[in-house]
């Protein structure tokens, strides 16, 4: 009986004494990529402060836009390393929070969630990106407001419509730095559409907005 108690106690205590432990320098990283950056890379450094080897079982990210890589599959005692999380910026804007879940064979903390926060600059705000009229509606101009960010001053805005069915007029408000793009359909007698291209001076980046004359919604027949 005494032997059994001894073995049981040992089985509880041994893993605690000879435990593996990955200590993370930080589990949250905040990045502020520049306007021209295509990706943001976060480095999550760790060290095995335990006495046994730690094995990575899986590393996966919360989003298809983020990839995470370990430098090695196992971490020897006292060894250091890092997991890099690469976030593809694409056309995302604002604050983006992505997580990477790391699973190891540690007994105490098998799962660690690493958080990558990226504060992305927005070159310009375009509101709305779609202006539309119904067929038969008076072809009055509608306005798209283009607001460049403070870090990206724009003096001139080139707006063009590939379709002759719509005309555009750009006006700049010097005080606010905003641009007002007035879009007018030539007529609203039939459905038509155009993808307006909006290009700020000094940038190769092209933004889009759409102008459409839509078929009037069907009204239910009355008897």
């Amino acid at each position: 009986m005494k032997n059994r108690i001894f073995v049981f106690t040992l089985s509880i205590l041994l893993p605690l004494v000879a435990r593996a432990e990955l200590k993370w320098e930080q589990t949250q990283v905040e990045l502020h990529p520049g306007v021209a950056d295509k990706e943001a890379v976060g480095h999550f450094k760790y060290q095995n402060t335990g006495e046994t080897v730690v094995h990575f079982k899986s590393v996966h990210s919360s989003c298809g836009c983020t990839t995470a890589q370990t430098q090695k599959d196992q971490v020897m005692p006292a060894d250091k390393g890092e997991i890099t999380a690469t976030f593809k910026i694409g056309d995302r804007t604002g604050t983006q929070v992505k997580t990477v879940t790391v699973e190891t064979d540690e007994l105490a903390h098998a799962t660690t969630v690493l958080t990558l926060k990226a504060v992305l600059p927005e070159l310009m705000q375009i509101q709305p990106t779609l202006v539309y009229w119904n067929t038969g509606e008076t072809p009055q101009p509608k306005t798209i407001v283009v607001k460049p960010s403070k870090d990206f001053p724009v003096k001139e805005l080139k707006v063009s419509s590939p379709s002759a069915e719509f005309s555009t007029k750009v006006a700049r408000d010097i005080a606010s730095g905003e641009f007002k793009v007035e879009v007018t359909p030539k007529e609203t007698t039939h459905p038509s559409a155009t993808a307006l291209t909006i290009q700020p001076d000094g940038s190769a980046k092209i933004f889009y907005a759409t102008a459409r004359v839509m078929p009037a919604p069907a009204t239910p027949a009355t008897h």
Partner: protein
């Protein structure tokens, strides 16, 4: 009774502090924003399906008739969606389990793309995987 509650609180607070960096959470999507595969299918031609997954996933397979609109190429892809949208249509946005925040983010950006905000924009419950199961 009070002592029991206090005793239970101590380990709970301790755990919350100790695991503060290890817990992942996010606010759930409200039920009114979600739509099931069956509900969305019942809308037939009155629904526009939007695939918010990366280009490669869309090229591999997608819901028939769906348009690709992801945040990797938002500016470039948005006009295609806007050329088929009309106010009376319902919009069903989906992504895969791997990138399932994407549908929610795309839905939010779509709502803000018109003035007044676009109505009837839904996120598909269970995403692409749910649609494949019911195919």
């Amino acid at each position: 009774m009070f002592l029991l509650a206090a005793a239970a609180l101590v380990p709970a607070v301790g755990e919350a502090i100790y695991f503060r960096d290890r817990v992942s959470w996010q606010s759930p999507i409200s039920a009114s924003e979600l739509v099931t595969v069956d509900q969305a299918r019942a809308w037939g031609g009155n629904a526009i399906w939007v695939d918010a997954r990366p280009d490669a996933d869309f090229t591999r397979d997608h819901v028939p008739g769906a348009v690709s609109l992801n945040e990797d190429r938002w500016n470039e892809l948005l006009p295609q969606f806007q050329s088929i949208w009309s106010p009376e249509k319902k919009v069903v946005v989906y992504c895969s389990a791997e990138s399932c925040n994407a549908a929610r983010e795309v839905a939010e950006r779509l709502r803000k793309s018109t003035q007044p905000p676009m109505q009837n924009v839904f996120v598909l419950e269970g995403g692409w995987e749910a649609w494949v199961k019911k195919k």
